[in-house]
Amino acid sequence: MARITSLAEAVQAAVHDGDTVAMEGFTHLIPHAAGHEIIRQKRKNLTLIRMTPDLIYDQMIGMGCAKKLVFSWGGNPGVGSLHRLRDAVEQGWPNALEIEEHSHAAMANAYEAGAAGLPLAVFRGYLGSDLPKVNKNIKRVTCPFTGEELAAVPAHRPDVAIIHALRADKAGNVLLEGVLGVQKEAVLAAKRSIVTVEEVVDDLGPRSLNAVVLPAWTIGYVSEVPGGAFPSYAQGYYARNNSFYKAWDNIARERDTFLAWMKENVLEKGPEAFAQHARKRAAAAE
């Protein structure tokens, strides 16, 4: 049953050194505030799972939180490389990073299988690709009806899933809307979970009969962090800050500019620093 706590408490309770952690959000609703909190709490040796590592994992990898990355596309969308990820893979800075590389289809299916309580995902995939040669977690199963060989990957069953959502009610029921990604699946697949939200409200309010809602009893911790997805976005709250994504390319290119930025904007700040992004946008919209 969801406990509504501060983000610091939630990370303290749910994320331990050495955990397998899935922080999801497909462009939309990326849990940046939670990533910063994990960096501040100096978690180490994490196995990070995420379809699109993106800025949030670039930051966590650059700050030495990760020992392994399970992913399918590791770039800055529409901009270019993730320099910290590349530095870790190419130069081992700040530490060597093991990688387990999949396709999007495999990752999405692996989350779906995890949510469904299955040990594996079966799909038509990887035909003609070299990825099975470099990833021993890509196998094949044979359809007993047609003889077709299909791809199989282990289900994702992370220790902790962390997502950002639009809002929660006071019981801890959480609403998602818009680009949904694999967040619902990540939470349902995980042993523990943290959901940061733009706001905690009395009632989720008028919604579709088929609204995407994670019931309180499927969630570990809920923390109110307005703006917590910045520079990603929260549908109906604030837009994606495309300028920041472009600016990150320069910030992260060199180790020293990266470290200076992290010190000023993460280590010396708290989750409340994200609120300005929610507010700025709300004001601009008026």
């Binding site: 497909f26 462009t27 529409g78 999007h104 299916n109 035909l127 694999v182 994504y245």
Partner: protein, 257 residues
């Protein structure tokens, strides 16, 4: 080259023209997104655009920077989860055209977006495959957009991220793949299509003002040409207007964010 358009614009326009009104197109970010939306805003107003973030039938006013910008969702018929996108929509065989690009391509239109150099000790770690491995095999056919250059158009790619025509001929069928694979490679210099037998990508149309020498200089294999090579029609004023307005709107929107 004497023209009132850039090679990049020619490439985008040529790619847009290949899309038909009845296509259901799986759109990638960047050039494919520009081409697909140019098609939608010009000759193919009913083309269905799908982005892997789950947006079905989207009609963005400005081009997205990312694959899941709010603009895509707000202008879509509806938006589904990413597992559903890859299971029901892509694997389900509902997409007629997929767009791909890459860091390296070979003459059979196999693509590498994974690493330059050895996988375990890469010279350059590229972003990776993303949706490409299954886009390449699940879509009815594949259009590839890539600017030419000797570092990207290579004899041998360092890693097969997604299959084109494999080692040519019936490579795809031998793997049990039922879709056509790359039917068009659209570059800043020319348009390539697969030889019906060997499946090698051969030049079928050269962009205005481009020479065969230029094409060869920018290709790491010996380029072959169709018996009849066309000249790609120049971008019309209307095509250029629509494309440039789209890109100007996009630049303004992204700067404001």
């Amino acid at each position: 080259m004497m023209a009132n358009y850039k090679p990049n614009e020619m490439m985008t326009v040529a790619a847009a023209r290949a899309l038909r009104n009845e296509d259901v197109c799986f759109v990638g970010i960047g050039q494919p997104s520009a081409a697909a939306n140019l098609a939608r805003l010009s000759h193919a107003p009913n083309v269905t655009l799908i982005y892997e973030s789950g947006t079905l039938g989207t009609k963005p006013t400005v081009l997205p920077l990312s694959i899941g910008d709010g603009e895509l969702c707000e202008t879509a018929l509806t938006t589904v989860s990413v597992p559903e996108m890859f299971r029901y929509w892509l694997q389900g065989g509902r997409i007629s055209v997929g767009f791909l690009g890459g860091a390296q391509i070979d003459k059979y239109a196999n693509l590498n977006t994974t690493v330059v150099g050895d996988y375990n000790k890469p010279k350059v770690r590229l972003p990776g495959g993303g949706g490409a491995p299954e886009i390449a095999t699940s879509c009815g056919e594949i259009f590839i957009i890539m600017a030419q250059g000797k570092r990207s158009f290579v004899e041998k790619i360092d890693f097969f991220t997604s299959i084109g025509h494999g080692s040519g001929g019936d490579s795809r069928q031998k793997l049990g793949i039922k879709t056509k694979g790359p039917t068009r490679l659209i570059t800043d210099l020319a348009i390539y299509q697969p030889d019906p037998e060997t499946k090698e990508m051969i030049v079928t149309s050269i962009h205005p003002g481009v020479t065969r020498e230029q094409i060869q200089e920018n290709t790491g294999w010996t380029v072959r040409y169709a018996a009849q090579v066309a000249e790609t029609p120049v971008p019309t004023a209307q095509e250029l207007d629509i494309l440039r307005e789209l890109q100007a709107r996009t630049a303004r929107a992204h700067a404001a964010a």
